[in-house]
Symmetry: C2
Subunit: 337 residues, 2 copies
């Protein structure tokens, strides 16, 4: 048997009827789990791939978040909506984190809905999930600001290393020499890339890397507050802090307030992301803009292209970060020269 295996052949090999194979393909719940598993296994084994022409996809695009409580989810939703509304598609929104709907898993729901494609945000797909989508000819793209794409998975990311470099260079150009960094969690590639960019900028400027000025933690306000207090309490505190994201930066703002340090007079702070809130805090935050809306647009266009049979020229696309200078950075006092 080759890739040209038909449903009928798979049915015979699985010892079931052809309609049963068809039910499995369409994510229907009324098939015994053991049967489903056997049929899925054969579909995978034979590299079965339903021809798109054989079934009409719905006018739906699936947008899957790992979790919806991130502040930047809205930026991403906006980007996806921008593209799908031009294309006459509608967005089905879901959260993947361990969500099981009664009787049907998230994946079964997707298979039953026959979407045009799937955009996943920070959500990996297991190899067997990838195989399930591929066998139904449902394309998927990972929008991946964490910079940790799976193998051979089409994905859109951002230039995290360059962002770390630009933020740190900006502080060095202002005259800072003791520059702290509060990095995101090390398990995420984006955190590693940003801290490496920071180290590269120090190295280029001939500033020795000081591990005492490095903290690491989750991407939230509380981490920024705690790590900020740790970094800023010592007498030889840094004159500037580069944070892993804007939420951490706001936590550092709070730590500075508590310690009586004014921003930017006593302390410069640079964030990462450029969420809308960065413009509204006091003082407005200098930050590295991650083009989340544009990344979501690119991921959505990529998945629609795939659905139309136009594979992208590259599987991994990184959109550029850029430094947005606002009022939270200034030369250090006293000037170190």
């Amino acid at each position: 048997m080759t890739k040209a295996a038909t449903l009928a052949e798979i049915a015979i090999e699985a010892g079931v009827s052809t309609p049963t194979v068809s039910k499995v393909l369409n994510g229907r719940a009324d098939v015994a789990p053991a049967t489903r598993e056997r049929v899925e296994g054969l579909l995978r084994q034979h590299g079965y791939r339903r021809r798109r022409a054989a079934v009409q996809s719905s006018q739906l695009l699936e947008l899957v978040f790992h979790e919806l409580d991130s502040l930047w989810a809205m930026e991403i939703i906006r980007g996806v909506e921008n593209v799908v509304s031009e294309e006459g598609l509608s967005v089905v929104l879901s959260e993947s984190s361990g969500r099981l709907t009664p009787g049907l898993s998230w994946m079964d729901g997707v298979l039953a809905r026959r979407p045009t494609g799937v955009v996943l945000v920070l959500s990996g797909l297991s190899p067997s999930q990838q195989a399930q989508l591929t066998s139904r000819d449902i394309p998927f793209v990972v929008m991946d600001p964490a910079g940790d794409p799976g193998q051979q998975v089409p994905s859109v990311g951002t230039t995290n290393w360059d962002g770390g470099l630009a933020a740190t260079r900006h502080l060095i150009d202002l005259g800072h020499r003791r520059i702290g960094i509060l990095a995101g969690p090390r398990r995420m590639m984006c955190s590693r890339a940003r801290i490496d960019g920071y180290r590269a900028a120090l190295d280029i400027a001939g500033i020795t890397f000081d591990p005492d000025l490095v903290r690491e933690g989750e991407f939230n306000h509380q981490t920024g507050h705690q790590a900020g207090l740790e970094l800023l309490r010592p007498a030889d505190r840094p004159t500037a802090v580069f944070t892993g994201n804007d939420m951490q930066a706001l936590g550092v703002y709070e730590a500075a307030r508590e310690l009586g340090l004014r921003i930017p007079e006593d302390l410069s702070v640079v964030g990462f992301d450029d969420l809308p809130v960065a413009r509204w805090v006091g003082p407005p935050l200098t930050t590295v803009r991650q083009p989340l809306t544009e990344m979501a647009e690119a991921a959505t266009r990529m998945v629609i292209d795939l659905a139309r049979g136009n594979p992208p020229s590259t599987l991994r696309m990184d959109l550029a970060t850029s430094l947005v200078e606002r009022s939270s950075t200034a030369p250090p006092r006293p000037l170190p020269r």
Copy 2:
């Protein structure tokens, strides 16, 4: 002909085939506009209502925003997701503002998708749209923080007047007498209710209402900044400002910074909404919490109940606001006593 008019009878009256009437019912694009209009008119005229049993609804719930760029959209999405994930439904997200997808209007898309129900956020439905959904037996609920529901439309709102009263009382209890208000736009019922609550609190405390301390404008940062400067520049400036929402409050924060006024020492500020950002700004914002997530949950439960043939006991439900005291309010200086 009565409500029991069948599709066949409507087809005869419209001079079309029964399948054509069926296509109109299902939002299919392949019907001439004039024919669609004639059939829709007859469906409306006869009060036709498809029995739910006659067609299987999809496992989709439509969530429609007037526009998606509001900061609180995320709070609402989360509430809807909380309920639908329990119920095994998925959310289709769309923006209503003038959106027309190629060939199909938003409404046609809804009719074609056969959702379990529709939750509209701040989006009214025209009477003819209401009739379209009703004839397909698709229930809808308006989630309506603006407090301006249509006639007989099931809706979930919040207690805006009580919120205005509680915010102003809190400031009066702290000793403030010159209390400014920056209200939202007068075209929204919620703005009117909040300012009336403010006036009621002043009245109860025997404080004369001073129109010079009132400003009005859109619910954004820029309005807060501009109106804040206007209110705070005069020598007899108010010692406290109650704003229409948290974004306006952050604009007032910026105005105060520019004028060298410290919060809360020189100026108390109360917001409205309690968006996550209210906790993260400096100082953390005292605000009136509008339970957006709970309102979205209630609206979603209501529409699912309607879909199951359980009409709600009341068409309009208002969830309570509550004052959240943080660090942006304090007694005025010098003390007025």
